[in-house]
C-alpha cells in the first residue's frame, strides 16, 4: 500500500497533462475497458465452445441411439454396442456411497471447528482437513492401490461379510477382489470430505452469534443450540456444500479409474468392479479407434458435462443464499 502511494506521489509531480495526452488517455481507457471486458467474456465463451464442441462430437452416437443410449446396459466395443447405463449406474452408486460416508464426517468436523474446538486446535485441524484437497487425484489412486485395496481384501471384506454377517445381503455378496465399487466410494469419500467441510464451516461461521446466544439463554444445551438454532439457519448452505461435494465425486477421474476395476457391468454387490462415466472415458479414450466408439465416449462426456453443470449451478445457488447476508 505504502509502495503504491509513493509511486503515486512520485509521478504526479512530474505529470503535467496537455490536451493531447488527455485525448490519448481517454483512448487508453477505452482500450483498457475493451481488453478486460474481452478477458471476462472469454469465460462464458469458453464454456459455450466446450459445450458445442463436445455436443457436436457426441452427436453421431446420440442421434443413432437416442435416449436409449442412457438406458442400454451393454457396452461392448467389439460388437459396436454402446450403452451408457453401467457407467451412469457406477457414477451414481460410487458418488452416493462417498456422500453417505463423507457427509456425517464433514458435518462433524465443521461443527467441531466452528462451535466446539478450543481456539488453539481450530487452525491446525482445519489446515489438516483442507490439505486433503491439495493431494492430487493420482496420488490418492496410488495410495488406494497399494494400501486401501489390500486392506479391503483382508481385514475389511471378511469383517463385513462374515463377522457382521452382511454376506447374505446383495450389497456384500460375491467374490471380493479389492478393486471394487466399495474402494472407489471410499476414496471418493476421502477426496470430497475437504470440499464439503470447507463450505459447511463457512456457512456455520456465517450464522449470527445472536442466534446461538438466544438458544443458550433459553436454556438449551450446546447440542440443542447447534441442532435447533445453528443448523436450521445454515441448512441450505450445508446442502449446497454437500451438492458441491457430489459434483466433485461425479467427475473425479484418476483415483476412481485406478480403483474401481473398470468393468462395464451393473452388479448389486459393492465388492464387484464397475465403471464410472469419467473412468470409462479415461480408460478407453486413447484406445478408441472406430468413430462410433469415439463418439460414444464423447456422448458419455456430454452427459457428464450436463450433469455436473446442473449439480454445480444448484450448489452455488444454495450456498449463495446463505452467505450473501454475511458479506
Amino acid at each position: 500500500m505504502t509502495e503504491a502511494a509513493a509511486h503515486l506521489s512520485g509521478n504526479s509531480a512530474t505529470d503535467s497533462r496537455s490536451a493531447r495526452s488527455f485525448v490519448t488517455s481517454a483512448r487508453g481507457d477505452r482500450v483498457f475497458d475493451i481488453l478486460i471486458t474481452a478477458f471476462a467474456a472469454s469465460i462464458p465463451v469458453l464454456l459455450v465452445i466446450i459445450a458445442i464442441s463436445i455436443g457436436l462430437a457426441a452427436w453421431p452416437a446420440l442421434s443413432r441411439s437416442g435416449l436409449s443410449f442412457l438406458t442400454e446396459s451393454t457396452w461392448d466395443v467389439a460388437a459396436g454396442k454402446f450403452g451408457a447405463a453401467p457407467a451412469i449406474y457406477g457414477t451414481v452408486v460410487s458418488s452416493a456411497l462417498a456422500l453417505i460416508i463423507a457427509t456425517p464426517l464433514a458435518l462433524g468436523v465443521s461443527i467441531f471447528l466452528s462451535e466446539i474446538a478450543p481456539k488453539w486446535l481450530r487452525q491446525p485441524v482445519g489446515f489438516l482437513v483442507d490439505l486433503l484437497a491439495a493431494i492430487p487425484s493420482v496420488v490418492y489412486g496410488l495410495w488406494g492401490i497399494f494400501v486401501l485395496i489390500p486392506l479391503l481384501r483382508d481385514p475389511v471384506g471378511p469383517f463385513l461379510r462374515d463377522t457382521l454377517k452382511l454376506g447374505a445381503t446383495p450389497l456384500f455378496s460375491g467374490p471380493n477382489y479389492g478393486y471394487s465399487m466399495l474402494a472407489a466410494g471410499l476414496i471418493l469419500a476421502i477426496m470430497i470430505l475437504p470440499f464439503i467441510s470447507a463450505v459447511t464451516r463457512e456457512v456455520l461461521l456465517a450464522v449470527p452469534q445472536s442466534q446461538r446466544d438466544a438458544a443458550l439463554a433459553l436454556g438449551a444445551t450446546r447440542w440443542e443450540m447447534i441442532r435447533d438454532a445453528v443448523i436450521p439457519y445454515a441448512r441450505s448452505g450445508i446442502i449446497g456444500g454437500i451438492i458441491l461435494g457430489l459434483g466433485r465425486a461425479l467427475g473425479e477421474t484418476m483415483a476412481v479409474t485406478m480403483l474401481i476395476g473398470n468393468r462395464p457391468e451393473i452388479a448389486s454387490s459393492l465388492f464387484a468392479p464397475g465403471y464410472t462415466m469419467a473412468s470409462l472415458i479415461a480408460n478407453e479414450f486413447t484406445e478408441a479407434t472406430s468413430d462410433a466408439h469415439l463418439s460414444a465416449l464423447m456422448a458419455v462426456g456430454a452427459v457428464l458435462f450436463a450433469v455436473t453443470l446442473i449439480v454445480n449451478a444448484l450448489a452455488r445457488w444454495l450456498v449463495w443464499r446463505v452467505t450473501r447476508g454475511s458479506r
Binding site: 504526479s12 487508453g28 478477458f39 464442441s53 463436445i54 491439495a134 492430487p136 493420482v138 454445480n312 449451478a313
Partner: protein
Amino acid sequence: MSRRSRHARSNVMMGMTYIAAIVATLPLLFIIFHLLRQGAAYLRPGFFTDMPNPVGETGGGMANAIVGTLILIGTASLLGLPVGVGAGLYLADKRGSLLATVVRFLSDVLNGLPSIVLGIFAWEFLVRPFGGFSALAGGMALGAMMIPLVTRTTEEMIRLVPVSLREAALALGYTRWRTSVSVVLRTALPGIVTGALLALARIAGETAPLLFTALGNQFWSTSLREPIAALPLQIFTYAISPYESAHALAWAGALVLILIVLIISLVARYATRGRYAGTGD
C-alpha cells in the same frame, strides 16, 4: 426429557464431533506416512537427473517428467494468468453489471467442471484438428482450468484495496487504466500472486486432462509440439504397471509431486502473510 439426560445427550453428540475430527484427519496422516515410507527409500539424486529405465528394470529416474511438468505449468500460466487477472479486474471494476454477474457465476461453474471434460474438449479442439498430441494442448487444457481460480482470487484481492486509494489516484489526474494497473493492481499484487500460486499447485497434480493432450513421453522432450512427459502421468503409468521397480518409482514420484504442491502452497501462504505483516499499520 430430564435435564440430566439432555445434558448427557449433548455431551455424547459433542463427543461424536471430536471423533469425526479425528477420523477426518486420519486419512491425510496415513497417506503422508506411506508416501514418506515408500517414497523416501527411492528418492536419491539420480531420481531427479536420470531418464526412466526400460520397463521392468530397476533404477532410473524421472528427469523428463519433472521437466515436463514444469513446462506444462509454465505454458498453462501463459494462458491462465493474463486471462484470469484481466477477468478479475473486470469483475471488481464493473461489480454490478449483468456481464459481471454472469461471468462470476459461470467461472464458478467452470471451476466445478470435471477436469476430464476439459481434457476431451482440448483433444477435440486442439489435438484432433492439429494432427497430434502435444505439450501445447496439455498446457492449454491446464491453463483453462486455471482461469476461474485466478479470476475469483484476483477479484477478491482487488476488492480489498481501499476505494480511497483509487480515488486519490483519479484525483491526481491518473487515467482510469493507469489507476487500475499501477495503483490498484499493484497494491493487490501479493494477494494475486498467492491466488496464482494456489492455482498452480492445483493444476500441477492434474492427470486426467493430460491423458488426451500431453499424452506422456518415455524420452527427453522439451518441444511444445511434441507429446511430453509429466509427473502425474508417469505416476499413473507406473502405479498400474505390474513391476515392483515401477511401483517404487511411482511412490518416489508421488512424494516429489506432493512436495512440489506443498512448497508452492507454503510459498503462497508466506506471500499473504508478508502482505499483512508488511503494511504495519
